[in-house]
Amino acid sequence: MIKGGRLVALFVQMAVVAGIISLGYLLFINTQANLEARNIASGFGFFSVEAGLPISNTLLPYTPADTYGYAFLLGTLNTLYVAFLGIITATIIGVFIGVARVSSNWLVAKLAEIYVEILRNIPLLLILFFTYGVVLTSLPGPRASLIPFPGCFFNNRGLYLPRPLFQDGFGFVVLAFAVAVVLSGVISKWAGKCRDRTGISIPSGWIGIAAVIGLPLVTYIALGRPLTWEVAALKGFNFKGGIVLRPEFSALMIGLVLYTAAFIGENVRSGIQSVDAGQIDAAKSFGVGRGIVMRRIILPQALRVIIPATTNDYTSLVKNSSLAVAIGYPDMVSVGGTIIGQNDQAIEIIGLWMAVYLAINLFVSAIMNWINSNVAIVER
């Protein structure tokens, strides 16, 4: 890149720094004056003040007698919760959409294409308003709930699911699950070594799935089924008990997941299509089966393209979760916004928002970079 002469470079940089510092000082002075004039406090003292805010939909128990600090924490937890669930679900659906897009079945590919083209060209906020305002409010009232599965009730107050009550011994079922996961990893490695030595392929994938499902199941039955369910029951006008997913949460999740899945689907599609068709011809001409072509030839190369692009979509999802404020789900922005409305301490709250979002996105990017460096092919 073209360098200026060294003196000029130094001078320019000094000038810019001086300008920034003066601007910063000016802003600081103004802010001090304004805060005084409007009687706004500074600092985070408000965190220990009693909130008096009604917040539903929290992961931990909360009452309006709790502090602002605790309320903000719960909002942050909600943001993390939505982000985590959202990323996982959107990935699953996105992969389906991406694979459907390249399907040899014209109808399936076309439907996937229509899905992507619609969702990518309308604002997420619109999808949220529509899901919340139209879809979920048009559900029947509690007395006429839809019952998709026994014990599940779907109405305009929320989705009620049975709450699992874990009894003594359930810990062993979880342990069995963990053991099964580790076991399938070990089996898969061992199967690879076996194939290297003798050439015989052991279906370690199926064995792994069987173990992960079967082992906990067997333990569960052997210990006398240590699991009961608390089913929601209609008491008066409302349901009580069970786990309830409120419409705000459902609308946010549905909107976020469907929207982000469209983008992830496009990434998956372009990743798969980035693999030159000639390689597939070559593999076919050796008689290599379709599954192996997908796993050993297409996927490793496709992931190189998919992973960096999807990292962007994940950070977008985390940022888009802030739209919860528009439909009343108490995420970090929602709660923070309410607090600002009450005590005007915008600088502190906005600063906190930025810090938390930056931290989450750094974390997600770091994990994705780690994944990328492990699946990335050696670039010659």
């Binding site: 320019v12 810019v16 079945n105 109808l107 309308i122 528009a326 922005v333």
Partner: protein, 371 residues
């Protein structure tokens, strides 16, 4: 005549090529296409059947709601509750408000004129009626008469900005946002790409935090924090604050896109420019930027589409843009219960505009590849 000799000097036989035969009926036409694309193999056949069932369950009900049972005209009594079809009369009734918000009715000719200029310029761009450079200049010039028309001054009555709204507001925020954030983004990208460590650090320090936080926080910052940064007593209206926030947000993303374009330029270009005596700014303007920008046209258009969609967030800081007016109209006590029609109409308009932009971007890319 042909002969069957085999010595070098004789005439060659005249070869009569076989005529083309028609393909077997099961492989061409509708049947052939169906077999190849929908029913090749049991798994695909199963998928096709499931897809057809899905379509059967969703498409006819949608069309009867949207078209056949719909009510297309009438006043607020035209759509009684319990009616089956869509009430498009509601949309037609609210059309003016959805388009220009609370703009005074007697001054409507002004946004209409502005809209016509906008549509005209869009058509010129899309159909490549003029040279690209002239089109860009026209776009840069458009906001001035546009703003004059909508805002007022010079003899035209001034209309307060709290009355601006609807699609006009969305397009205005997006257009000005794009026109200002693109040059700003280019400056930031050049700064980040430069060798001046302080300037580079500064640019990174601006770009990365902005890209790491949601637009809502930037809008809150602009809307709530900016009054605190100004001298005591000085005020700027909410619309201007929000526009500044949008510009700031978009600049960071434009900067990243342009940076990708800068990195794709071969080093030899800089050497070549130096060797013919161009200084930094001339090199940048004449050699570097044109190439960098052409490289990333699809991403830039993608950013423009994203910006237009992002303007829908201004409802959260109190401005009634297109989506905002749609939502507000649906709360009108005379027209309750028609949220679905409102949102479907809103989605349709957004979809048309965004799809047009993306098709335009693709056509730009194609014509660039043909050069």
């Amino acid at each position: 005549m042909s002969s069957l000799g085999s010595s070098a000097g004789t005439d060659a036989l005249i070869f009569k090529p076989m005529p083309d035969l028609p393909a077997p009926r099961t492989t061409v036409g509708v049947i052939g296409w169906l077999r190849a694309n929908l029913f090749n193999g049991w798994f695909n056949s199963l998928l096709t059947i499931l897809a057809l069932v899905f379509l059967w369950k969703t498409v006819p009900p949608f069309f009867s709601w949207a078209v056949f049972d719909a009510v297309w005209s009438g006043g607020s009594g035209a759509c009684p509750p319990g009616q089956e079809g869509a009430c498009w009369a509601f949309v037609f009734n609210k059309f003016r408000v959805l388009m220009v918000g609370l703009y005074p009715v007697d001054q409507l000719w002004r946004p209409i004129l502005c809209g016509m200029m906008f549509v005209l310029l869009a058509a010129v761009s899309i159909f490549h009626l003029m040279d690209v450079k002239k089109v860009v200049v026209l776009w840069c010039v458009l906001p001035f008469p546009g703003f004059l028309l909508i805002n007022g001054g010079f003899g035209l009555a001034v209309i307060d900005q709290s009355l601006w709204g609807g699609l006009m507001l969305s397009l205005g925020l997006a257009t000005i946002g794009i026109l200002i954030s693109l040059p700003l983004g280019i400056l930031l990208a050049l700064g980040r790409y430069s060798n001046f460590t302080l300037i580079k650090a500064l640019c990174v320090g601006v770009i990365e935090p902005i890209r790491g936080v949601p637009l809502i926080t930037i809008l809150f910052m602009a809307s709530v924090m900016m009054p605190l940064f100004l001298p005591v007593g000085m005020e700027i209206n909410n619309l201007l604050r929000v526009q500044i926030g949008i510009i700031l947000f978009s600049s960071a993303y434009m900067a990243e896109v342009v940076r990708g374009g800068l990195q794709a330029i071969p080093v030899g270009q800089f050497d070549a420019a130096k060797s013919i005596g161009l200084n930094y700014w001339k090199t940048t303007a004449l050699v570097v930027l044109p190439q960098a920008l052409r490289h990333v046209i699809p991403s830039l258009i993608g950013r423009c589409i994203a910006l237009f969609k992002d303007t829908s967030l201004v409802i959260i800081v109190g401005l009634l843009d297109f989506l905002g007016m749609v939502k507000a109209s649906a709360q009108d006590p005379e027209w309750l219960g028609h949220d679905a029609e409102a949102y479907v109409f809103c989605a349709l308009i957004y979809w048309i505009i965004c799809l047009s932009m993306s098709r335009y971007g693709r056509s730009l890319e194609r014509s660039r590849q043909q050069d």
